[in-house]
């Protein structure tokens, strides 16, 4: 009965209803879009940290990630790698061997970090294959090197040139060999573009006299934010003398950046909610207050104050629910559009290095359930609060006074 009356009331004053509705729909949709953009930036940052070098989890000997001691190696057991790859939640695993030494071309000599990889496996973890600015990504067995753009420039090499790498091998000898540059990558991160070279794993194993050995296994997983849990679940299947580190442990400063980013997001989101809530609160407040006269008539006709209060709340609830459905739908559509298209900033910016990660100059969005649920709940509460006070006031009115009111 009351519900029908509420619907009829809303319908009867369609102009006011539409005004209120539009305000709520548009602001909740925009709020969802804004939160989606935040999530998109966050996803970009996370990807930048992990996909450009480390991966989400890195398995190595205890302490290797701290001092990069050449002798903290382990056997690249193919069954272990296959097991890890098929583990639930794990998307890829790449075996790697690392060496620091001198890279020379012609008269130019530069210190460099060599990462011995399996080109096919590495694409499961990092995105070097997508960051080539010249040449090609090495074939499976091709004895070729991918070199960072800054390093390539300093050494004056182009794809096809030969490089000499010199380092101390594991047997104390002066390991040295020639390798041909197959491609040049540019990640935008200076420390990598200026010092990193990717080479074939077997080639580096020979040069370092570490046959069949690797320093680390880099993994990508489905839920990077739950990297610690995933690491714990992997522990049982790993040899006891190996440890797993998460991207957060490997790049503590990145975690700090993310934490600081979370804080600035908190501030922005508070302001966003405040602005949205204020708008909605006012619209509903106003629309209920203006109807004092109407409530007066209802009470004069014998409606209980309790019923009047309920009626107002019911109307508000209906209004809020309708607008939330429309608003969330519009928000999803806008977020998806933004996710697909994004706003390209590359004419104004180059890639940005951000504490070990690199961000593409692009604004995009990501859809996250939390970004829908929280605004929806919050707005519903705001709407009900906005309805409650005028409803109480309406219920307390004396019919005669209310009728006199404008």
């Amino acid at each position: 009965m009351l519900l029908r009356l509420a619907f009829r009331n809303l319908w009867r004053n369609s102009r006011r209803t539409l005004l209120t509705l539009s305000a709520m729909v548009v602001s909740s949709a925009l709020l969802i879009l804004a939160l989606g953009v935040f999530s998109g930036m966050f996803a970009d940052m996370l990807a930048s940290v992990t996909e450009q070098y480390h991966g989400h989890l890195v398995i190595s000997r205890p302490g290797y990630q701290d001092d990069r001691n050449m002798f903290a190696h382990f056997v690249a057991d193919p069954t272990l790698i296959d097991e890890l790859r098929s583990y639930p939640g794990v998307r890829g695993a790449s075996p790697r061997l690392r060496a620091f030494g001198l890279l020379a071309h012609g008269d130019a000599t530069r210190p460099a970090e060599l990462l011995g990889i399996d080109p096919e496996r590495e694409t499961e973890v990092t995105s070097f294959a997508q960051q080539l600015i010249a040449g090609h990504y090495p074939e499976r067995t091709e004895a070729a090197a991918l070199i960072g753009s800054g390093l390539a420039k300093k050494l004056g090499v182009v794809p096809g040139d030969d490089l000499v790498f010199l380092t101390q091998a594991a047997d104390g000898s002066l390991g040295n060999d020639l390798i041909t540059v197959s491609g040049i990558f540019e990640t935008g991160a200076g420390n990598r573009d200026n010092a990193l070279v990717l080479v074939q794993l077997p080639w580096l194993q020979r040069l370092l006299v570490l046959p069949g050995k690797i320093h680390e296994l880099a993994l990508t997983i489905d839920e990077p934010m739950a990297a610690a849990e995933q690491a714990a679940s992997l522990k049982a299947g790993l040899p006891a003398d190996l440890e797993t580190r998460t991207w957060g442990q490997l790049l503590p400063e990145m975690q700090e950046v993310i934490a600081s980013y979370d804080v600035s997001r908190l501030i922005l989101v508070t302001i966003l909610y405040a602005a949205t809530g204020l708008g909605i609160l006012n619209t509903i407040f106003m629309s209920v207050l203006e109807r004092s006269r109407e409530f007066g008539i209802l009470m004069a006709l014998g409606m209980q104050p309790r019923q009047v209060r309920l009626l107002v709340l019911l109307e508000t609830l209906i209004l809020a629910l309708i607008s939330l459905i429309l608003g969330v739908a519009a928000g999803i559509v806008m977020t998806l559009y933004m996710q697909r298209i994004g706003i390209d900033l590359s004419p104004y910016l180059s890639a940005v290095t951000y504490a070990g990660g690199t961000l593409a100059p692009r604004l995009s969005a990501a859809l996250d359930g939390k970004n829908l649920l929280i605004p929806a709940t919050a707005l519903l509460l705001v709407a009900l609060a906005a309805g409650y006070f005028p409803a109480r006031r309406a219920a307390r009115l004396k019919p005669v006074e209310a009728l006199r009111e404008d």
Binding site: A23, P111, I271, T276, E290, T353, Y354
Partner: protein
Amino acid sequence: MNFLSLAWKNLWRNRRRTLITLSALGLSLFLLQTFHNLSFGVYAQMVDSGVRAGSGHIALYRSDYAQSRDEELSFAEAGLSAAIAQKPGVRAALPRVYLPGLAQSSRESRGILLMGIDPAAEAEVNPFWKNLPEEEGITDSEGRDALVGARLLKELKLEIGNKFVVTVQHRDGELTAELLRVRGVLRTGLKEIDASMVMVGRERAAAMAGIPGEIHELAVILERASDQSRLLPVLAALADNRPGVRAVPWEVAMPNLSDAIRLDYASQKFIFAVILLIVTIGVVNTLLMAVMERIREFGVLLAIGTTPGRLRLMIWHEALLLGLLSMLLGTLLGSAATWYLTARGLDLRTLLPAGLEFGGVVFDPVLRAAWDVRWMLQMGLYVVGLCLLASIYPAIKAARVPPAEAMRHR
């Protein structure tokens, strides 16, 4: 004139409605202004600490040193810093020498970057010195006292007061080694600096490289970032007699910092546009509602002989008054909040995990606002404009409605 006092009276006749509209508008304006001033301040803060830790608002380099970092590209200082520091608007001029090299202790050796600085000038502005106890500061430009990155110090197994030897390449190709002594520890939180930076007096570093009196970089810190474009040609002119030496703005010298800030700024701008939109919708809605609810009242006015033109004028005057009042209220609130955020700042240290300090460069946990008065006024006028705009449709409509119908209107 008459209209204004009539509008004023009208506004206060329905005090409740006016107060609600006023608070909605005022609070929205307050949010806009406070948010803008806060992010304006935070960016200024980021730029400021970024340029202080890096190469200044304006940096002087020879040729493409900023990109190539070729140690050969040094140039004569010869009083240039002093000349630049005297220019009005310049806060400090920091001459610097950079040399890659090797540091050795009796236990270990590590590759390092030796940075030669002018201690007196640097101590005043470089945020890396902020956390340095006074006794750890270096004072002599030719001395052997050095500041060593915390991680490097640990790896070399050194302590404050210990000696170590730094080897760099001399201009003639040979290597020169010098004894240095650890005076203080650099704890910046930046991995690269903590693991590889050794700071000594500029003359000491230059002598080691065989380039006495020469520098690789002259970082100029300005009083106000906005003076940058004005001072750029002035500084370039001062260095005119040095062939190949160019003055570049910090955006060019530190593209990474500049891009990081701009990317962040772009996303903030986007969010800001969204907030503005939400506020606009809220404001327009409230106003529309307020005016539309009064169509009955307008009908009465028309019925008692008010001409439609006068009615329109009255509605607009009311809107104008309402807008101005909201602007006043919002700006007052916004100013109060900005004042608080400027003086006290928004301290996020309690919200962040302990020990989180990002070098004082990228992120400072105390956010501070800055005044952008022009912008605050613009936003205020925007709200007034919104009021007038939102009243156009109801004003026209109200004036057109036949009185009888309007009076029936609810």
